[in-house]
């Protein structure tokens, strides 16, 4: 009984932290309609600011806390709203998602630049050393502070939203933005307030958490992924339910840690928030099908069969020449780059055509590599490297199919996060501390031959992707991105199409991962990290995830970055910054750099042929009279 009480209490404390973060997330999401993937990064920034103020500048705890939570964090939120969110308006999920994920990377980059990750930063708990015993359970004063703060925040947030006119306006803007403006409440100012409030809550959770964990930019940022589960239980909009979700999640985690056997637990514990999220997804009510995209976007033109064949052929010729002519020392990098290109290519049908976003594509690649390693290098190994990730992808995507695209992104994120800890770092899976040895598929040990094999795999897949885009299925996909409701009224099996493409994309990523593993000879947990997944996704989107050439360029540039670093020091740490910035700039160029360049050259060519702008409205009388006669 005592253990139960003790576990319950620690669970509640953790749950309070989850509830705080998740409620901040809900506030920003409801007021601006944009799910802030950088929420954790804001909390992380607040934790570091708090460290800077207390440990570095010697400020006492309470004023530092107030300054961080009431001034710095809300300011960060307001600035983000002003510079980024307002410009996004009614952009598609894929764009809002990449912009906030870009922001996440940018903030991590900033934090790592200011606060050297190599030196440890420690934050003292509040009232260090003070303890209270409640019903036989020893509580630190800090834990009491957490519980008290969370309770106070929950109550005052509710009171604010329901009793103050500004709070009512916040909810009104969520309900009907335009009508709110017509009553005289300013939706932009309300949106800014929502972001400031959300960032303040993120900051509060960050500072309270800071003394409980080691202060590391990436870890702290990703810890919030756990809070997403609570927000999803609250359907991303319901604050009381979100709070309950946070507490439940904390309790589940604590009880699991306490009651499941110790050996087993160390492996399963990171998976609990993901399981919780999946349960919450299954419990969520069916989402209404979107009718049509608000901002129509001209997609890049699709090359015809002849052009595709020609391009694939010439690509293979170039690859063959490179395989023969390239110095052996560069062969490894080039092969690696082409394998990454294949992983990025898997995003084209998914994100580029279908408008679905997977935030953990590298996780599927990693599963592919592990599958190859376990089955062996023969053809059956390659088959497993495609089939296993595809099957896992099906499982991950399945619970989200009734819901909106955002839920799929959240599920993949939670999946990637859980796999980071539970699978790729797991000794039973990876067997060797130096990494899991991966054989070269088909016994191609010659580096030149292997390079050509990877290029060939890319060429075949690229050809397949473009053929898919021209096929009925491809048109279905694009139509799905435009209007799921329209598709389902036409009798299309929306979920089956989406699931199929997701599985196919995961399989392609798995093949890429297997080839990557074969090139490296061994894979470790660092190869398929969640943060790297995010970087890759952003890179692909920035260069143009709707085009094959876009992702090819993205992969080759990624490979070239370390080469640059040999010549110019410090480029390596700048890359995430640049990627983040690039993604943030995406608001305007939604087809990516390649798409924009192609469109610009097209436009220049097409200018003389443009029809003169009409000064008169189209005349309908003729139609009418001719119909009558």
């Amino acid at each position: 009984m005592d253990t139960f009480l003790a576990l319950t209490v620690t669970g509640l404390v953790t749950g309070c932290l989850y509830a705080l973060t998740a409620s901040g997330l809900v506030v920003t999401y409801t007021t601006s309609g944009i799910f802030n993937f950088a929420h954790g990064a804001i909390g992380m920034l607040a934790a570091f600011s708090y460290w800077e103020l207390t440990a570095s500048q010697g400020m006492p705890g309470l004023p530092a806390l107030l300054l961080t939570v009431l001034v710095i964090s809300p300011l960060v939120g307001a600035v983000i709203e002003r510079l980024l969110v307002r410009r996004l308006g009614t952009a598609s999920l894929e764009v809002t998602l990449t912009v906030t994920v870009g922001l996440l990377l940018l903030l991590i980059g900033i934090a790592n630049t200011i606060w050297d990750p190599a030196t440890p930063h420690r934050v003292q708990a509040f009232f260090l050393g003070d303890e209270v015993t409640v019903a036989g359970v020893v509580l630190t004063a800090h834990q009491l502070v957490i519980v008290a703060t969370a309770t106070a925040v929950a109550i005052s947030l509710w009171a604010f939203l329901h009793w103050s006119r500004t709070g009512v306006a916040l909810r009104a803007v969520v309900d009907d933005r335009e009508l709110a403006a017509l009553t005289g409440a300013s939706p932009t100012r309300v949106g800014q307030l929502g972001w400031a409030l959300g960032a303040g809550l993120a900051g509060l959770a960050g500072v309270l958490l800071a003394s409980q964990v080691s202060l590391d930019a990436t870890t702290m940022t990703l810890l919030v992924v756990n809070g997403y589960a609570a927000a999803v239980l609250g359907r991303l909009t319901n604050l009381p339910l979100t709070f309950v979700g946070g507490l439940l999640l904390g309790l589940c985690q604590a009880w699991a840690v306490g009651y499941l056997t110790l050996d087993f637990i160390s492996q399963i514990q990171p998976v609990i928030p993901m399981l919780f999220l999946f349960v919450a997804l299954v419990l969520s009510p069916q989402a209404r099908l979107r009718v049509a995209q608000t901002a129509p976007l001209r997609a890049p033109s699709v090359p015809g069969a002849r052009r595709t064949l020609l391009a694939t052929g010439s690509f293979l010729v170039v690859a063959a020449l490179a395989a023969v002519a390239m110095p052996l020392s560069r062969m490894g990098d080039a092969t690696h780059g082409m394998a990454v290109a294949l992983i990025l290519l898997s995003l084209v049908p998914l994100v580029g055509y279908g408008g679905m976003v997977s935030l953990s594509q590298l996780t599927f690649a990693g599963i592919g590599a592990v599958a190859l390693a376990k089955v062996g290098g023969g053809p059956e190994g390659l088959l497993a490297a495609i089939a296993v990730p595809a099957a896992v992808g099906l499982l991950v995507a399945l619970p989200t199919m009734r819901l909106r695209g955002l839920h799929l992104a959240l599920a993949t994120l939670a999946f990637g996060y859980a796999m980071d800890d539970a699978f790729f770092s797991n000794a039973t899976v990876m067997t060797d501390s130096l990494g899991l040895p991966v054989p070269r598929p088909l016994g191609l040990d010659d580096p030149r031959g292997y390079f050509f094999l990877v290029c060939g795999a890319f060429a075949v897949c690229a050809f397949g992707v473009l053929a898919l885009r021209r096929s009925t299925l491809g048109r279905r996909l694009v139509a799905l991105g435009d209007s799921p409701a329209g598709c389902s009224t036409l009798g299309m099996r929306v979920r089956r199409t989406k699931l199929g493409v997701f599985a196919m994309s995961a399989g392609m990523a798995g093949l890429g991962g297997a080839l990557l593993g074969g090139q490296q000879g061994a894979v470790g947990s660092a190869d398929f990290g969640l943060l790297l997944s995010l970087t890759l996704l952003l890179l692909a989107v920035v260069w143009g995830v709707r085009t094959v050439s876009g992702v090819l360029i993205a992969a080759l540039l990624l490979e070239a970055a370390p080469l640059l670093q040999d010549h110019i020091s410090g480029v390596g740490s700048v890359v995430p910054l640049l990627v983040g910035l690039g993604a943030i700039g995406l608001g305007k160029h939604q087809n990516g750099i390649v798409g924009s360049v192609v469109a610009a050259t097209r436009r220049r060519r097409a200018v003389p042929n443009l029809p003169q702008p009409r000064t008169e409205p189209p005349i309908r009388e003729e139609v009418l009279t001719s119909a009558q006669s």
């Binding site: 329901h162 009512v168 306006a169 909810r171 009104a172 309900d175 005289g184 939706p187 409205p617």
Partner: protein, 242 residues
């Protein structure tokens, strides 16, 4: 039509407007006199709602001016216009469906000088049904009750100009008659009303002046009796082509 001494409550001067490349309104000149009801009629897609969007600041005209009581307010945000007394009830949804009735009334108090207590007194006094349902979500009310709630904004905010977009849409004839009686009363109390309607007959009865919009232009303008015969013809695009 307006005597030069009297400033129009609302005036559109040479307004061209549209969405992106699609132009919807062409050279619109429209004057809302300081008293009375102007009905704006026209077929589907004529540009009626766009005209109201321009007047309420939700769409910025590509050229031309919007004047509120003689002041140029072109390009002002809708919330600023609302605060200075322009009350606009948008098409079919003048209430916040996920807010309770009393929260909705709270939202009517953003105009400076409007007090919560007065709003509730007026609204509940005029529509006792709303008082019974003050804790209910507005989205759960019947269509007629929702429109009452929406109209209570016009009653309580003491607007200088009232813009109404198809308030009769989807409502029972009895309720429509009640609503139009209310509009007439608001106008008689001194608030000028610009009323957009797709169904001409009801609007012609309540209006003092009628403008007919078709294909983005004002085709007819005058007293209801003068335009009555021309309305149908304009709806069928028969005018001017012969």
């Amino acid at each position: 039509m307006t005597a030069p001494v009297v400033t129009a409550a609302l005036e559109l001067r040479g307004v061209n407007a549209g969405y992106g490349r699609v132009q919807v309104l062409y050279d619109i000149n429209l004057v809302l006199p300081p008293r009375g009801v102007v009905a704006l009629l026209g077929p589907n897609g004529a540009g009626k709602s766009t005209l109201l969007r321009v007047a309420s600041g939700r769409t910025v005209p590509s050229s031309g001016q919007v004047l509120l009581r003689g002041n140029d307010v072109t390009g002002r945000s809708p919330e600023r216009l609302a605060r200075v007394g322009l009350c606009s009830v948008p098409e079919g949804r003048g209430v916040f469906p996920n807010l309770t009735v009393s929260d909705n009334l709270r939202m009517w108090t953003f105009r400076p000088g409007v007090r919560r207590k007065d709003v509730e007194e007026t609204a509940y006094g005029r529509f006792p049904r709303l008082a019974e349902r003050r804790r209910q979500l507005a989205g759960r009310l019947s269509g007629g009750e929702q429109q009452m709630l929406a109209m209570s904004r016009a009653l309580t905010a003491d607007p200088d100009v009232l813009l109404l977009d198809e308030i009769s849409m989807g409502l029972a004839p009895v309720v429509v008659a009640e609503l139009f009686a209310l509009v007439r009363q608001i106008a008689d109390d001194g608030t000028p009303v610009l009323l957009v309607e797709q169904f001409a007959r009801t609007a012609l009865e309540v209006a003092d002046e009628v403008a007919v919009l078709s294909q983005g232009r004002i085709r007819l303008h005058g007293a209801p009796d003068q335009v009555r015969d021309g309305v149908l013809a304009t709806y069928l695009h028969a005018e001017g082509s012969a």
